[in-house]
């Protein structure tokens, strides 16, 4: 097991390095120059480039960037002059993360009961209804649901604040929008896993022994069907916690979601690099934890 862990760790670090390298050189390959501006004399543009180290050869810039990373310096924005890239993460991530966590936990209270209901009444009315709801949730885009909810609940009914952040009420609508898509997929996944487990021999044995249906579900079926879900938690959380540009724009939430897109548009190299590195590292760490959890929860998968 230890050997497996170390191997996965090394692989994860290498993946992060590849991510940094690929992002760095892809950014350099993009058309455009962040400082090209016919209003600014050439010598001044050169000074601007020198300040950010852009006057050096690309390979030198790359190693300089790696050196800065080791010292925890992600650089400063070229568009929001003087703002450190770490400040984007420091200010935005807690907001995006708390919203993501809220959506995750709320989603479990909805997706599991619906998944169990659908699996117990397979090919009957409740199953069809649940699947229909799930598919609608997946099909409806956030940019449609969000403004509609905002208008109905915020403007017309004045039940919730239209936009903003800071109180528990500000969580409600964004979480509802996030739940539509993510819960729909979770419901279908839970249903499939539960149905797959329900045909196993030990399930037939449990029923044959006279165990109550509820006990069969909760003691045997749910436990075994939840392995994929359990090991997928880190990845799901990583995706939810890094923020949604659409939702943050609709509800004016000061999260991290929109920074990357805005930075790409403006060719703000340090911000693009810093945020890509952050997102990528989160996903890589999440995958690493998932791999470890597989080995822990399922002895059949454990590698010696």
């Amino acid at each position: 097991m230890l050997k497996y862990v170390i191997k996965r760790l090394i692989f994860s670090v290498l993946t992060i390095l590849v991510l940094i390298t690929a992002t760095f050189f892809l950014m350099k390959a993009l058309p455009g120059d962040p400082f090209q501006n016919d209003k600014v004399p050439k010598e001044v543009q050169m000074r601007q480039k020198a300040y950010y180290g852009l006057d050096k050869p690309v390979v030198v810039q790359y190693f300089q960037y790696l050196n800065n990373l080791i010292h925890g310096d992600l650089g400063t924005s070229m568009k929001n002059f003087g703002r450190e890239v770490t400040s984007y993460i420091r200010e935005g991530f807690p907001v995006s993360a708390s919203l993501g966590l809220a959506a995750f936990f709320a989603g479990q209270f909805i997706s599991w009961p619906l998944g169990i209901l659908a699996s117990q009444f397979r090919n009957k009315a409740p199953d069809y209804l649940v699947v229909f709801i799930a598919v609608c949730g997946i099909a409806l885009p956030e940019m449609v649901i969000g403004p509609v909810l905002r208008y109905v609940l915020g403007v017309k009914l004045k039940a919730l604040p239209v936009t903003g952040w800071g109180t528990w009420q500000h969580y409600v609508m964004p979480v509802m929008v996030m739940l539509f898509g993510s819960t729909g997929m979770a419901v279908r996944s839970h249903r499939a896993n539960l149905l797959s487990v329900s045909t196993q021999d030990y399930m037939k044995t449990a029923r044959a022994k006279g165990m109550s249906p509820a006990k069969v579900v909760f003691k045997h079926q749910l436990r075994n069907a939840s392995v994929p879900w359990f090991t997928g938690i880190p990845g799901t959380l990583a995706r939810l916690m890094t923020g949604s540009m659409v939702i943050e724009n609709i509800f004016l939430i000061p999260g991290m979601g929109k920074h990357l897109v805005n930075a790409l548009d403006a060719l703000d190299y340090p911000v693009v690099m810093g945020l890509t590195l952050f997102y990528g590292t989160m996903m890589i760490v999440a995958n690493f934890i998932s791999d470890m959890m597989y080995g822990i929860v399922d002895p059949r998968i454990r590698i010696h």
């Binding site: 058309p31 929001n80 200010e91 609709i250």
Partner: protein, 572 residues
């Protein structure tokens, strides 16, 4: 030159519309209710109380909640380029003079003298303070003016200083090294000497801008590169002071009790909600969470007016197709007067603004309907129609035939023309409409190249484009201002990449730049307008973009200077 990809802002009188007052409870109504609840009923004899026994009801702080389109890039005036940042800077700071309602009024300088040659200004500063109570002196202006052209820095607005301050370019580029030779000096604590690059009415309008506010050395020096990045790293001497800046969330300004004219400032607090745009901001207005927003979307404007909000509109930019420079390969066609005329006459501007560019006004000349003239709107004093807003397809075809004859080409030999634009859905729809017009009317094929903003500007600045769909700035005073678009057509400027040259244009433009006589300036502008409209050198003007301000009827109207100005607004 100031390009705006989306919309810039402008300076002219706007138009105001008002509908029935909103039905939702407003702050004024709440204040009235509070007052009424505390008033003695009319039918009851007033109680006999001594003044000490009657506790006055504290007035509710007057707050305006407004939209801010996007996160301010910085509050450092020497790096401020977008109108969001500039508006915030001008709310919290004041320069020597102020542009109020399109006219120059005293700011920190209560009076000034101008030498006979129009180059030397002596400003007499009033007694005034920074928001923290320290005295503001002429040295603060000297510090700021020197800072913008500091050769060790690369401030975005430095190039603008070249056209304003004597020796600014020389000092910034290192041609002179003694900062004392820069055209600014403090004669004493309250007297400032400024030497301009050229005479003319523009100087004071320029000094009213965000680039030329004073900066507090005791705040800027310790902050270093962080100056302007946070609320605690800015200096304020204006009507309001920035007290909080929550990134991607809001900016809070409060009334500056140390402002010299504070008695004329009636808002206690302004809260700007960042990224509140479009339907999001409209929904906030309808829910009562916002009092003031800006939009170029006429449907949102109509929605809010119907709901009882007041509105105010003004021309914010000119939307046009700009032709590429001398290395596009299509020069031979763009340099042909008949070819350009054909392209101009083939556009049905009315159809575009009626359908795809709602809220825009189709252009039949350069000067927009509310641009100021000498005493009246320019278009009234200088009536002119260069082309029909519905297009003239037959005339366009005739011009194209003449062009092809002169060039010895057939229509099939005309290369595809690529239109560069910012990648927005609106732009794509507009250019697709023009694609269709050109193909059907003239048989010319257009392709579209939508790009992210910086990639687009890279191609523009390296002149790697055939046509560019862009917004053109209308300038502080008018389109002849240094920050208007006219300077782009002056081939004598370093960096000019076009091929069009006209001596009469140059002569007239020099008059615009240097004359102190408003009538002479406007006369010259009119002549230039006719030259540009008839020769069409580098651009095809499509429409004027209208910006709408929508606001609660509880407040007085904003003013319009370089941008919409909320400084003097108050609760009614």
């Amino acid at each position: 030159m100031a390009f705006s990809v989306l919309e810039g802002c402008g300076s002219d009188s706007g138009t105001t519309t008002t509908a029935a007052p909103a039905e939702t409870t407003t702050k004024a109504a709440q204040a009235e209710t509070t007052k009424a609840n505390n008033d003695t009923p009319a039918t009851t004899a007033p109680a006999e109380t001594t003044p000490e026994e009657t506790e006055p009801v504290p007035a509710e702080p007057a707050e305006l909640r407004m939209s801010i389109d996007f996160e301010p890039t910085t509050l450092d005036p020497h790096n401020s380029q977008d109108d969001v940042t500039i508006k915030l800077i001008l709310l919290s700071n004041e320069g020597l003079v102020r542009n109020r309602g399109g006219s120059i009024v005293p700011g920190i300088a209560e009076s000034w003298e101008i030498s006979e040659d129009g180059l030397e200004y002596t400003f007499h500063l009033r007694e005034s303070k920074w928001a923290d109570g320290t005295e503001l002196t002429a040295e603060d202006f000297v510090y700021a003016f020197r800072r913008i052209v500091d050769p060790n820095q690369a401030y975005q607005q430095a190039e603008g200083a070249y056209l304003v301050l004597a020796n600014a370019m020389e000092y910034h580029t290192g041609k002179i090294t003694d900062v004392e030779e820069l055209g600014v000096k403090a004669i004493d604590d309250h007297t400032l000497y400024v030497k301009a690059v050229s005479p003319g009415t523009e100087m004071l309008y320029t000094l009213a801008g965000a680039d030329w506010i004073p900066i507090q050395k005791s705040v800027a020096d310790p902050a270093g590169p962080a100056y302007g990045t946070e609320a605690q790293y800015v200096s304020n001497n204006g009507p309001y002071k920035i007290t909080a800046w929550e990134h991607q969330s809001k900016v809070v300004l409060e009334k500056n009790e140390n402002y010299w004219d504070k008695d004329n400032i009636h808002l206690d607090k302004i809260t700007g909600f960042i990224n509140a745009t479009g339907q999001t901001a409209a929904d906030m207005m309808l829910a009562g969470d916002l009092d003031y927003m800006t939009t170029t979307n006429s449907e949102i404007h109509d929605q809010l007016v119907e709901a009882g909000f007041k509105s105010f509109s003004y021309t914010s930019s000119l939307q046009c197709l700009l032709t590429g420079g001398s290395n596009t390969g299509l020069d031979v066609y763009f340099e042909n007067e008949h070819f350009i005329k054909a392209m101009n006459l083939a556009i049905n501007r009315k159809a575009i603004t009626d359908t795809l560019y709602k809220g825009g006004i189709p252009a039949s000349r350069i000067s927009w309907p509310t641009m100021k003239g000498v005493d009246k709107p320019f278009v009234e004093e200088y009536p002119y129609e260069a082309w029909s807003i519905e297009g003239e397809p037959e005339k366009a075809k005739a011009e194209m035939d003449l062009a092809l004859q002169e060039l010895g080409k057939t229509i099939d030999e005309v290369p595809e023309i690529c239109v560069l634009c910012y990648e927005s859905e609106k732009n794509l729809l507009l250019i697709q409409a023009m694609q269709d017009m050109y193909l059907k009317t003239l048989g010319i094929k257009l392709t579209i190249e939508p790009l992210p903003i910086q990639a687009m500007f890279s191609k523009v600045f390296s002149n790697d484009f055939d046509l560019w769909w862009s917004g053109m700035s209308i300038g502080s005073q008018d389109w002849g201002s240094p920050d208007g678009f006219l300077s782009s057509f002056d081939w004598r400027n370093e960096g000019y990449t076009g091929s069009w040259k006209d001596e009469e244009f140059a002569r007239l433009y020099d008059i615009v730049k240097t004359t102190g006589d408003l009538k002479e300036r406007k006369d010259a502008l009119f002549e230039i307008e006719k030259i540009l409209c008839e020769q069409h050198p580098p651009f095809l003007l499509a429409a004027y973009t209208q910006a709408y301000i929508c606001y609660s009827p509880d407040y007085t109207d904003p003013e319009l200077a370089r941008y919409d100005d909320i400084t003097y607004m108050m609760l009614k």
